[in-house]
Amino acid sequence: MNKLTLDFFNNPHPGLDQSFTIADDVFSTNVPIVELKVNLDVARILNEALVISKFEELVRPAYEYESTARVANWFKTPVYQEPDIEKSRYYTNLIERKLGDEPLLPVNTDKNRYTEFFSQINGFEVEWCHIMELRPDGYLTPHRDINVNTQPLRYFWIPLNYPEGSKLGIYPMGEISINLGSIYLLNQRNYVHSVANFGKENRYILNGMFKLPTSVSFESYVRSCISLQYNII
């Protein structure tokens, strides 16, 4: 694991001491993370996924002067993707001023494969999602996913298990406490974040983006969760 990731998780962060405004478009609100306590049965989702999924390692080419890898032991399987999704919506990397050069996920419009997940969610449709597998000693070094999406809270992050040694950190909050069964809206665009697996078991995350529009009641629920979890002005 690289030194930056180790320092990120092994040291106290300064903490989040500020107030926020909820945007008219609630998914544009610039808070770091929102927990939606929806009590998903993630064990059933994971069990189904492990039976039908084939995970492939995600390898990031090293930069010319990179001395330690930015990612390690990171695997992914596609779950679902709308057929007409624009590549630039989530693969454009504005830091490196280029379009992402990885291929789109294989288009899969068959929601019947992952029946557990799609039968448990309500209030929103999925634009795309996949399941990440982070094996022991796996990590994604602290980073921001700066792309052209200006609605950072459209990105959802669902831990399907959280074995000992699993870590999610967001700067400046530090390590995030995770409740299995919750959906997290993770503002990966505007906040530096990192994940790591210091344990001995594989950890699994289902993540992706909502399809808009979501239901009015769902937007209202997200708004109420933000109000409860942050100082709102």
């Binding site: 930056l4 300064p14 002067y65 001395s67 921001r144 400046p172």
Partner: protein
């Protein structure tokens, strides 16, 4: 006094003779260990390694000074510069943390060219600012300043968090 290890990954571009440089840590010159990675034609890749003594100042500064470049160092044919003479800072590693894109947001170059030269350039229609950022290419005599705070990981996160894109 605590110190951290610093590595500069450089590419030296030159024709007749190698660029000359020195490094200051908070205004004190330091000795560096140099390792050559590659040398092809007019390009040499090296790593400089040194210890940076951290002071109680809120901000620490590494000053990389490029000096001694003259007109003779340019290889010119038919009024075209065939080979320039400059230093490019490709990457910097502080306390085993590579700066990556943050290098572009943390360096400023200040040239040390005489006023008369700046005036002559202006008369040719080329405005030379006293400084520019990022300061990763030292094409003139002058200095690049890299200022940072400790702990390095926290400063690194603050820099990336501040990108306004």
């Amino acid at each position: 006094m605590k110190s951290i290890t610093v590595k500069f990954y450089l590419t030296l571009h030159y024709g007749r003779r190698r660029p000359t440089f020195k490094i200051m840590c908070n205004d004190v010159e330091v000795q560096v260990v140099e390792t050559q990675i590659e040398h092809i034609a007019n390009k040499e890749k090296i790593i400089l390694e040194f210890e940076f003594p951290i002071t109680s100042n809120p901000t620490q500064t590494i000053t990389f000074i490029h000096y001694g470049k003259t007109d003779d160092d340019l290889v010119i044919e038919n009024n075209q510069v065939l080979i320039d003479h400059y230093i490019k800072i490709e990457e910097v590693e502080l306390d085993d943390i590579q700066l990556g894109n943050n290098l572009l947001y943390s360096t400023v170059f200040y040239h040390a060219m005489p006023d008369i030269w700046v005036k002559d350039m202006l008369e040719l229609g080329i405005k030379i600012d006293p400084s520019y950022a990022p300061g990763t290419e030292l094409k003139l005599n002058g200095r690049t300043e890299l200022s940072f705070k400790t702990p390095i990981w926290m400063w690194w996160c603050e820099l990336l968090q501040a990108y306004n894109i």
